[in-house]
Structures are given as C-alpha cells and as structure tokens.
Symmetry: C2
C-alpha cells in the first residue's frame, strides 16, 4: 500500500520522497504498479533528453554542462545515469563523482544512477519508470545518460523526446555505427573533443552517411554539433539544437505520436510480463521438468516439448 | 521445406552446407525450426567454450591461439564471434582480419561472425542455434567469443560448458566486475597481457574477491591464468584448465545438469516466443490502438489498459 502522504510529498518535489518513490518503482512489484498508477495523471510534462555514445566520449561532461546551462535558465533537471556495462567502465564512477560536487548539491537538480548489478533485465523499464517519478515531481527536463548501444540503451533512447549521440573523432568505424541502429536513434550527433586530430574528417564522414538516408523536405535531418565539453564549448549549440528539434516535433505532430508510441510499447511490456507469469505456473513448469529428460536423450525435440506446453496453456487458461 | 540433401551434406561436414544452414537458422522462422528439429539428434557432442571480457582484452588472440593449440591435437574447431557492440569496437574487425589469414583457411576450422546490425533481439538465440549446426556437423570444440557483459553475452556464456573471462591488468574495477555477474559466469579467469604493470596486483585482487565466494571442498573455485596471447604464452595452461573443468563437470554430474538447464532455458524461449505471437493478434492490437488515446489523455492508466488486453486474451484464446 502506497501512503498518500508520499505521493503528496512527491508532487510537492520533496527530494526524499522522489528518492523513496524511485526505490519503490525499482522493486517492480504490485506496490510499484500502485505508485505508477497514482502518479500517472501528473506524468508527461517534462522534456526528455537521451544522451548516449561509446565509453569515454564525454557523455557525463555533456550532461553536466547542459544541466548547468538549464540551471542558468532557472529550469529544474532530473538526471538518470544508466550504465549496464559498468564493470569495465571505471569512467562512469569518476564522472559521477565529478558530477556530485559540481551540480549534485543544487536543489534544482535530482540525480539517480542505475547500474545492472548482475541482472540486466528490466533496466530500461526501471529507468523509464524513474523518469516518470521525476516527471510527476515537476522537473522541466529529464536527461537519460546511457553507455553504448545495447538493447537497454535503444529502449531508453526510444523513450526520450530528443536523443543525442555523442562521438569523438577517434570513435572509429562510423559506417558500422550507423548499421547498428544509431542512425535511427540519433536526433543529432555531438562530436565531442573536436579539437583533436581527425575531427573534420569525422564530421565529413558522418555528414556523408547521414545524407545517404532517405529524406524529403519535411524530414528531420540530424545535424552534427562540434563541442569541447570540458571547456564548455558548443553547449549553447546543443541546447539550441534540442530546442529546434522540440519545435520540429511539435510542428510535425511527431511529439504526440512519439509519446503515444512510448506508451504503447510500455503497455505491451506490462501485458507480456503478466502473460509470462500466467504461463509459467506449476503445471507448465512440471510438464517441462518431467519431460525434459526425453529431450536431453534426443527422443523429443525442444520444439515438440514447447508445443506440448503451449497446447496445455491454451487449454487450461 | 528443408532439402534432405542439405542435412546430409551438413552432417558430412561440408563447409558450404554448414554456412547455408547457419544462414537458415538465422532467419528464425518455420524453416529454421524444421532444420533445428532435423539436426537435433546429432547435437550435443561438441564441447562448448565461452570467451568473454571487455574490448581490447585480447579475446580474439586467445581464441586464435587456443584454436591453433587444438588444431595441433588434430581437433576440429568452430568459432562463433558475437559482437553486439561492434559499432564502437573497431578492434573486432581487425581481429577478424588477422584471424582469417591465420586460421580461417584451415579446413578444420569453421568461423562465423555475428553482429547486431540494428537489432539486438535474438542474437544469443541465433548464436546458440548456429553452435548447434556446427555441433551437428561434428566439430570437436565450439568457441563463442563475445564482448562485454550484456544480457546477450550472459545468455551465451550460460550456453557454454566452460566460460573464460579475459581481463587485462588495467581492466579496472574488479569489485564492480564481480558485482555485475562475472563471478557467476567465469569458470576461470585469464589475465592477458600479464607482462604489463599491475598484473600481480590484479591477480591478488581477483584472488581475494574469488575467495569471498561461498564454497566447500567440492566447489569449483575459478583459477586465474596469466597469459601473453600475442606471444603464445599461457595457452597450454588455458587448454589444461578447460580440460580440468570438463573433468570436474563430469565427475560432479554438473555436465549433464548444465546441459539440461540450457535445453530448459531454450524450450522456455520457444514457448514464450510462440505465446507472444498468439497474444498480439489483430484483436488485441486493435484494442490497444483504439484505447491508447484514453491513456495518453490520462483517463486510463497503462496498467488498466494492459488488464483489459489480458482479460481479452484469456477469454478468446
């Protein structure tokens, strides 16, 4: 049971209530559902920005500088830093530490870090649920900071209104990057550390690739913004480009369409999770366990046993 | 329809038939199922080795050297190189090129590279299906080479009999690595590039962490093998450790238990995929699409619409 006082405090932007509510949605149980139901009418006002790219490209610096930019405009910012691959990217922790001293103490900033810690499943769902909590609390911007291009990151990018892909001149094979789905998720690119050798060639290569994409005069064509985040160079340009993309989304009616798609994806996830729980009841677990040895022995194929289980599920639901 | 001649040629270890069969299972459709059904009785003889770790640790070099070691013993080796994060790891491509010239031409080696190319879903399933094809063709060893510790890699590691985690002295935060599930998947660690500074400290740190794990006198305790793969140092030790682990698995009855678990996981995947297809029929898609705007407007919560769809599914299955 969710205490109504908690919801009240959350909607009142009390930091401890926000933190507590995120911890509740992270549990991903019936209490989480109750909380998400209660805040649902208050969700949807924050503008959501995704910042992704390879380790070491400077995503944390970009996020921090952008946050400082918005703070100067008297905006409130929630940051959700997701690092499913944290075991090998010591940088994330360092970035977190710098962040905490620079902006973490500001009352207009709320930061939550999420790492996989052994289980990756549901990480993107938890990040998006956490965004809803911060959104309901009335923050103006929510920035998702994610590493890499795994499925979790793609899911989170899909949940953002504007997604920024941060690269550096030495990021390497841009053609590969494009093939791996970055073309689809990037609303614009940031070429960080653009004072390094190869920046111009990288920009040219990216531009060429982007022009290959089908587009007409109404299409949004991703720009490439050169930055040096550590020197605060190019941050205004990032904020302007986010704004320009926001206006494009609204004018093209894509803003609401994207949000509908997100809600749709989410409802599907909820349905599928529930169906899975219905599916793996004692009966089908027993059927699977008791017939497994026949499959191991080669007398039955995995597909034949699967068929039996499905048949049973359909007849006993 | 699968041509029986293809199966015959595959079981006869003809390279073109193996390649063609893998392409068929990658389609993940009814033809794939038919092929996997037909080869099922011939699957299960190959010993499966997983090689994982962060980019740049030298997984390709380890895999190549280990392959050469087995070749000298007149063994046949299948390699499945999976790189879901390929956009930013140019190294994988380079590794592939070196590999092709060194061992790729050897008739006793079969190599298949798999990258995500825009869609990550099902990558681990495809890799495991591909392993079954190579297994059915009669190869002695199958090496899965994967980057990082995403869900795909964990799934693939689970499908291996022995999983090796390759690290380098500078891999960084070992405690984090352990938390992220590497402790659970590593049957032993390889500390590659062990001539670099920090190798001894890294070994000490890893050993300390490994000793923290609960174990009794019958437990398998992961060892740490120091190597310099590019100089072929420590490869014999890796092969010996794989062998020692294989013997442990057999004696402790875990070999068959692990394989049962893999088949079980796989059957569950097949069942769930089929149920999803049943679930998202026209009726529930329509229900979702036609009621979505109420959710967007805040009149209905995502959970309430999900409940409607589940109710309908249960009553119309």
């Amino acid at each position: 049971m969710i205490d109504n006082l908690l919801i009240e405090k959350l909607l009142n932007k009390e930091r401890r209530a926000i933190a507590r509510s995120i911890s509740i949605v992270e549990l991903n149980n019936s209490t989480s559902v109750e909380l998400l139901e209660k805040i649902h009418p208050n969700v949807g006002r924050a503008y959501r920005i995704g910042v992704t790219g390879p380790p070491g490209a400077g995503k944390s610096s970009i996020t921090n500088q952008l946050t400082k930019y918005y703070l100067k405009q008297n905006k409130t910012i929630g940051i959700i830093a997701v690092d499913p691959s944290s075991p090998f990217t010591g940088g994330a922790l360092l970035g977190d530490r710098i962040r905490m001293t620079e902006i973490g103490q500001n009352p207009n900033v709320f930061i939550r870090s999420m790492a996989s810690r052994g289980s990756l499943g549901g990480l993107s769902k938890k990040a998006i649920d956490a965004a809803d909590v911060i959104d309901a609390a009335g923050y103006d911007y929510i920035i998702f900071e994610t590493v890499g291009v795994g499925q979790s990151e793609l899911d989170i990018a899909n949940a953002a209104d504007t997604t920024i892909v941060v690269l550096v001149p030495e990021s390497g094979d841009y053609v590969q990057a494009m093939k791996a789905g970055l073309m689809e998720i990037a609303d614009f690119f940031v070429l960080n550390k653009s004072d390094r050798p190869g920046a111009q060639q990288a920009t040219t290569a990216l531009t060429t690739i982007l022009m290959l994409k089908d587009h007409d005069e109404y299409s949004w064509i991703p720009n490439i913004i050169q930055t040096i985040a550590t020197e605060n160079k190019g941050i205004d340009e990032i904020a302007n480009e986010i704004n320009r993309h926001h206006i494009y989304l609204k004018n093209s009616n894509n803003f609401i369409k994207n949000r509908e798609l997100n809600i749709k994806r989410r409802i599907k996830d909820i349905v599928e999770e529930n169906i899975q729980n219905l599916l793996w009841n004692n009966f089908s677990e027993n059927l699977l366990n008791s017939t497994l040895e026949k499959v191991v022995a080669g007398d039955l194929s995995p597909y034949q046993l699967a068929e039996k289980i499905i048949y049973n599920f359909r007849n006993h639901l």
